[in-house]
Symmetry: C2
Subunit: 188 residues, 2 copies
Amino acid sequence: MKKDIGGRNCLYPLPTVLVGAQVNGRPNYITMAHVGIADPDSISLGMNKKHYTNIGIKENRSFSVNIPQESMVKVVDYCGIVSGKNEDKSALFKTFYGKLATAPMIEECPICMECELVTTVDFPNHDLFIGKVVATYIDEEAMTNGALDFSKIHPILFTMTDRSYYRVGERLAKGWTIGKEFKSPKDR
Amino acid sequence: MKKDIGGRNCLYPLPTVLVGAQVNGRPNYITMAHVGIADPDSISLGMNKKHYTNIGIKENRSFSVNIPQESMVKVVDYCGIVSGKNEDKSALFKTFYGKLATAPMIEECPICMECELVTTVDFPNHDLFIGKVVATYIDEEAMTNGALDFSKIHPILFTMTDRSYYRVGERLAKGWTIGKEFKSPKDR
C-alpha cells in the first residue's frame, strides 16, 4: 500500500555537475543537479532565474557541464552555496577552454563537456536551458577498452528529498544483456 | 592533460525509470534513463520517436515515472529490450492508477509519480516530453523522519558509455552543509 505525498518531484538521484559560463567577462561555476539528457546530443539544465550564471548563458549562448568526483565534494557544495555575484569562483579551479570562447571548463573534473545553447524553455521561475554537446574532454585514466568507465570516475549523486550527496556503488549488470535472463509470463 | 573524444554526451549516471502510459487502451511500460528535472515541479523524458509509448503520451497528454529498485534489474532491462508493439508488458507488473485515468503506475516500484504533459520539445529523432508531477506515491518504508530517504530505496543507475547499471553507494555528505567546511582562497 502506497502513501500519497502530493505532487513531489522525486526523480533522484541525479548527477551533481558544475556548470561553467562566462559572466561579465570572467568564468563562473555553479553547482547543479537538476539536469537531464534531452536527446542523445543534448543536455538540459533547469536553473532558477535568480542565478548569476543565467545571465552569461543567455548572453553568450553557451555553457559547460563538468562532472566532479567524490574528492571534490566540499568545493562542489560550496559552489552551490556561494553566488558569483559575491565571490569570484573562477579562483577555485584551473580553467581551460576548448572550441568555444565562452564555455570555461574545469581541469580538476574528469569529464568536461562544452555546449552551445539550442533552445530555452521558459518556466515561471526557471530557465530550462538545452545545449548541444559540441566537444567532450576526459581524463584518459577514466577509459577502459575505449569506453568511458564510470566505475573509475566516482561522480557525486544528489537527492533533494534528503538533501544528500551519495557515492556511486558497484556495477550491478550490463544493459541490453541482463534482461535476456528474464522469463516473460508468455514464455513460462 | 585531457583527451578530446568529440561531442559525446557523458551526463551519467542517470536514474533508470519505468515510464508508464496508456497505449491503445492498455497500460504499457518502457525503460528510460534519458530523463531529467526541468523545473522543481517537472520531469523531462528524451524519447526516441520510434517508441510505442510516445503514441500514448501524445494522445492522452499524461504519463507516469516509476523508480524501480535493484531487485527488479532483470525485468527493468527486459522492458528496454522488448517493445509494447510486440508484447503486452502490462502483464509484468501490478498496475494501479491515481488521479489520472491514463497514467498507469507500478505497485512494485517504491516511488511512482503521475505527470500531466505540459510541453514537448521537438528534436530530429526524439520527443522531449516535459510533464508536471501531479501526485507522488511512495512506500512508507522509504521514509526517514518524514523525508524520502534514498539510502532505503536502492534505485538503479544507468550509464550509456559503458552500457551498465550501477548501484547507489553510501551517503557521502549533506548538501548545503559540507561546503561550509571549504576554505575559499579569499579566506585563507
